[in-house]
């Protein structure tokens, strides 16, 4: 029996009340925290690893359809301008050009905002798109457009935008208690102002789409983290039924938040394909991707803290000025200030400044990462002012209650994370690092805490089909953008089915089966999808055992299945699963499962602590991260192998945020100067510190059936703050802006 329940879902801190479909016959019980599981919790190589390693994985950019046209985007070469002339017909006259669209073109699609703008508001903004038989012909078509722009005044300086009160939305003032009074009354106060850089997601596969129509049905490959969001967006834009849009995204070459839904590329490719009557492939070139793929917004934050001498935080007053670009959802920069520690008197002001850059968008832990970077440095300044161990200060202000809602956390192992990280890092001996070092470098160690959502929720569905050969296929709505979540689904299904891993395969990346999964973002895939997979697999197992009972004329309750064998409790029966499934012939055993709601009365969050050790060559302004210890509480770990990969990846992006990555915008023209991979420095293998990883790994008993939380975001959140705190520990100075490039380090040390 199915019924609707009203529940609350969360994505990156945005809550929404929704109806969730609940299967009342689903009696899957949660795995006990100490349950003896045979596969879950053991390292498993990816089910598609061999395909990826052999170059057989087919990404959107690899899709080849007969008769495909190649699309090239004409982008604004100025930060703000108005099209004076654009020769669409000139472009159409170029040999090989089949379709051209510009700001004034009549389109069959409708979107909330115009697809192309006659008044581009940032360098790299799409102005027109040309589709042609070859890439070369499309480029020739773009040249023939002979774009003439009137250059309009631009604004890229966030402080100037603040002075002029140019906002993308009203500034927000989130307060509880009275921070001002509490600050005035505090025995100890500190204040810290810091800047964090704009950071580009830089997925190596750029945004890309290949669109193909058959009548009023659209099939489209999109390099996206959200294929269902893309499907819905395309259906809406073209006035189609959802079932007439099929989005495929089997392999995605990284996303990191930048690839939400259909995006400009899929909409434009579908439109051009409709016009030309042929498939269209639109792949951003790297410059276009770095200009228009997205960005973590730069911020300027000020944090004021008050505390009593014993280290109790009594006041938090934080403000954040965010360089939004042309708009976008306001990143929750001040969430760490509002929730990380127990405090009754808090004020958080956020100013979303409108600038002539692309609208900022999600980049792994959007808002919270840059907010943590500033707030956790302020906490270290407070520790210094109190002459208190920074970890001890954090322990002293720990809370098991969500400070905004007043509800308890469903689980919280942060204190255990502190202890474990301290042990792994040798925190107790950190003072020795400040003694003269044999290599002449300065050394220091710093810590930072992590808070993020990551509880997942409905809706999420899965189906499991067991065939006569005893092999199971798990259909999910997962986009495995490199996280390994499909392999996790394989593991969970095999565990529940009692089948060997090799006999189970998990599928995703295709909307056609209409088995829904959430966007691969917000650390929600694992906590949302795994319970649905388990529920579907449990139904198949139940049916299998019922059939076995029929075959062997034995009560179902006396049978169990594990490792591909069906056994009776008395040991009389011990046969391969195929003894039963072979009798299916061409029939299959099917089960479908859905994700139930999170229990009411709790707030679900993930927690963690990282400790970084750095060395500083003071004369050369060079900072190296020598080691990062990362301990994160994300509930039960399904696959420690891919989980550690997630942590390594997050830590490395955090290291780069702290040391090298920064979108640099020319003040004179408002155009980014380093929107290429040669000047925008993402880390190399030689920049990789030793990364030591551990998880408490304790299942969250308040979460449905698997006790798992998400891990995508947590590991990037505290890294930069821990590094900056280690830098301050090593040098006694704090840089006013990240990243810690040589110029900034030398200035801080001067």
């Amino acid at each position: 029996m199915s019924r609707f329940v009203r529940t609350r879902t969360e994505m990156e801190g945005r809550y929404e009340d929704v109806w969730a479909l609940v299967d009342e016959s689903d009696d899957t019980e949660s795995w006990a925290p100490d349950a003896a599981l045979s596969l879950v919790g053991r390292p498993v190589p990816r089910q598609d690893g061999a395909a990826r390693a052999a170059g057989r994985a087919r990404f959107t950019v690899d899709v080849r359809l007969a008769g495909t046209l190649h699309a090239v985007v004409l982008r604004s070469p100025v930060a703000h301008g108005r099209v004076r002339s654009l020769d669409l017909d000139g472009a159409r006259a170029v040999p090989g050009v089949r379709a051209v669209i510009g700001p004034d073109s009549e389109l069959s699609l409708t979107t909330r905002s115009p697809l192309l703008r006659g008044e581009p508001g940032y360098a790299g903004a799409p102005v027109a798109v040309v589709a042609a038989d070859t890439l070369e012909a499309a480029h020739a078509g773009v040249l023939a457009l002979a774009l003439d722009l009137e250059v309009l005044p631009h604004l890229v300086d966030v402080e100037e935008g603040l002075r002029e009160q140019r906002f993308t939305a009203d500034p927000t003032d989130e307060a509880r208690g009275d921070a001002e009074v509490a600050l005035a009354a505090a025995e100890v106060t500190v204040e810290l102002s810091l800047e964090t850089p704009g950071q580009l997601q830089t997925a190596l596969e750029p945004h890309a789409a290949v669109a193909s129509w058959e009548g009023e049905r659209l099939t489209i490959w999109v390099s996206t983290q959200g294929m269902f969001a893309a499907r819905d967006e395309l259906a809406r834009a073209f006035g189609l039924r959802k079932s007439d849009v099929r989005v495929l995204t089997e392999f995605v070459g990284g996303g990191f938040g930048a690839k939400q839904g259909a995006g400009f590329e899929a909409l434009a490719a579908a439109e051009l394909s409709r016009i030309a009557g042929r498939p269209v492939r639109l792949v951003n070139d790297r410059h276009g991707e770095q200009l228009d793929g997205g960005r973590r917004a730069a911020s300027r934050q000020t944090v004021r803290l008050g505390a009593s001498r014993d280290g109790t935080i009594t006041a938090i007053d934080a403000d954040a000025v965010i360089g939004m670009g042309q708009g976008g959802w306001m990143p929750p920069v001040l969430i760490p200030a509002r929730t990380l520690y127990r405090c009754a008197d808090v004020r958080a002001l956020t100013f979303p400044v409108k600038t002539n850059l692309r609208a900022q968008n999600a980049f792994r832990a959007p808002g919270v990462m840059e907010g943590t970077t500033a707030f956790e440095q302020a906490i270290d300044e407070l520790a210094l002012a109190l002459d208190m161990d920074p970890l001890e200060l954090r322990r002293r202000n720990h809370t098991d209650i969500d400070q905004v809602s007043g509800s308890p956390y469903s689980s919280n192992q942060l204190l255990a994370c502190y202890d474990r990280a301290a042990e792994l890092a040798g925190w107790a001996a950190r003072g020795e690092l400040r003694e003269p070092q044999p290599d002449g470098l300065l050394r220091g160690m710093g810590c930072a805490s992590q808070i993020w959502w990551g509880g997942g929720g409905p809706p999420s569905h899965a189906t499991v089909r067991l065939d006569s050969e005893g092999h199971a296929t798990v259909m999910t709505g997962i986009q495995d953008i490199g996280t390994g979540t499909l392999t996790s689904a394989q593991i969970v299904a095999a565990e529940e089915l009692g089948l060997p891993l090799a006999h189970v395969r998990a599928l995703g990346g295709d909307t056609a089966p209409n088995v829904y999964g959430p966007i691969a973002g917000g650390s929600q895939t694992t906590p949302s999808v795994m319970p649905a997979v388990r529920s579907a697999a449990a139904k198949v197992r139940k049916t299998l055992l019922q059939l076995a009972g029929d075959v062997f004329e034995i009560a179902v309750g006396d049978l169990e299945v594990s490792d591909g064998r069906i056994r009776s409790r008395d040991g009389a029966i011990d046969v391969e699963v195929t003894e039963v499934t072979a009798k299916l012939g061409d029939a299959t055993i099917d089960g479908s499962g859905s994700r139930g709601p999170n229990p009411g009365g709790f707030v679900v969050h993930t927690f963690g602590c990282q400790i970084a050790q750095v060395s500083v060559d003071a004369a050369l302004g060079e900072v190296r991260v020598e080691r990062v210890v990362a301990v994160h509480d994300v509930g039960r770990i399904v696959n420690p192998l891919t989980a550690s990969s997630q942590v390594e990846g997050g830590v490395l992006q955090g290291v780069a945020f702290a040391l090298t990555e920064e979108l640099v915008v020319d003040p004179t023209t408002g155009i980014p100067v380093n929107a290429y991979l040669d000047d925008y420095k993402i880390p190399t293998i030689a920049d990789t510190p030793e990364i030591v990883i551990d998880f408490p790994g304790i299942a969250d008993e308040n979460l449905p059936t698997t006790g798992t939380k998400g891990l995508g975001e947590p590991p990037i959140i505290p890294t930069a703050a821990a590094i900056a705190n280690a830098f301050a520990h090593a040098t006694g100075r704090r840089a006013v802006a990240l990243p810690l490039t040589r110029d900034r380090v030398l200035e801080a040390l001067a």
């Binding site: 302004g621 190296r624 040391l659 640099v664 155009i671 100067v673 380093n674 190399t684 040589r742």
Partner: protein, 292 residues
């Protein structure tokens, strides 16, 4: 439409290079980027791979390094081991992939990495325009000299070869000339924005190294731990008691540095002045090492 030619000899290549719009293609690692970013639009690419310009051979008391020798070969060749500055510079340059492609001649003649010069949205002074956007914009990675252009020279090899006393063999159809390595370079002027002293039709065919110095080294600072152009780098060599120092990243071109006064003539610009301390430190460390 660009045409491609693969001459079988240097003379044949020199003939082709006299054609309008002809450009030298060696490793192509810099040229490809120039073409893609619209900095160069050669009509004819003259590929040197069959001209016999690769290879490292004894040459009197020193060595002759063909201009088409790859950076990887320079880094690994045993004959070059006594020139530690040179092998270190080659080993730390770029990436293994680029070192396998890029050549000695190309490394010396490469264009600056200035983001305005390379950027598709600007037509800067060095590229033939009127404005040095770096001077009015973001020049944190730029040079320390006064001038119409404040771009920095990115060659790792140039300062290393210079302090080892290298000369450059330049050939044209009418003959050959040999010049001290640093004389290959010139500061751009209003009427000639080129950074090299090559005349039309001239080709760098080899670098000659005299007998090795008593000791030499190369120190560099980059933007990350590997695979970045040098922000500031210093090469130094000791011949007996005489010390020679040269640097990259501090001027339009590779520059000789006075060991006794390394910052002379290098005042810096507001955002690039931080390089002065780095340069001074690298020179100091180089000299300490060479003296001991």
């Amino acid at each position: 439409m660009t045409t491609y030619a693969r001459p079988g000899s240097v003379d044949e290549a020199l003939e082709l290079l006299l054609e309008d719009g002809a450009a030298v293609l060696a490793g192509g690692t810099d040229l490809a980027g120039q073409i893609d970013r619209g900095i160069s639009a050669p009509g004819l690419l003259v590929d040197l791979q069959d001209t016999g310009l690769g290879g490292i051979a004894p040459d009197g008391k020193g060595l002759r390094v063909g201009a088409a020798t790859t950076l990887a070969d320079v880094a690994e060749h045993t004959l070059l081991a006594p020139y530690a500055a040179v092998t270190t510079a080659a080993r730390l340059a770029a990436s293994q992939l680029l070192r396998n492609q890029g050549t000695v001649g190309g490394n010396l003649c490469q264009h600056t990495r200035c983001w305005y010069y390379r950027g598709e949205e600007w037509n800067c002074w060095l590229g033939g325009g009127d404005t040095c956007f770096a001077q009015i914009g973001d020049h944190r990675k730029h040079n320390l000299e006064e001038g119409d252009c404040i771009s920095a020279h990115p060659s790792d090899l140039a300062p290393a070869l210079a302090v080892c006393g290298a000369t450059v063999v330049v050939r044209a159809l009418h003959g050959e000339r040999e010049i001290p390595l640093l004389d290959l370079f010139r500061r751009p002027t209003a009427d000639n924005r080129s950074l090299v002293t090559l005349e039309r039709g001239e080709l760098v065919v080899a670098v000659r190294l005299p007998a090795p110095p008593d000791a030499s080294l190369y120190l560099r600072t980059g933007e990350r731990q590997a695979f970045s152009f040098p922000l500031v780098s210093v090469a130094a060599a000791r011949h007996g008691t005489a010390l020679t120092v040269a640097a990259a990243g501090v001027a339009n071109i590779p520059r000789a540095i006075d060991p006794a006064d390394p910052l002379a003539g290098l005042p810096g610009h507001p955002q690039s002045a931080w390089k002065r301390q780095v340069l001074e430190t690298l020179v100091e460390r180089a000299l300490v090492t060479l003296r001991t």
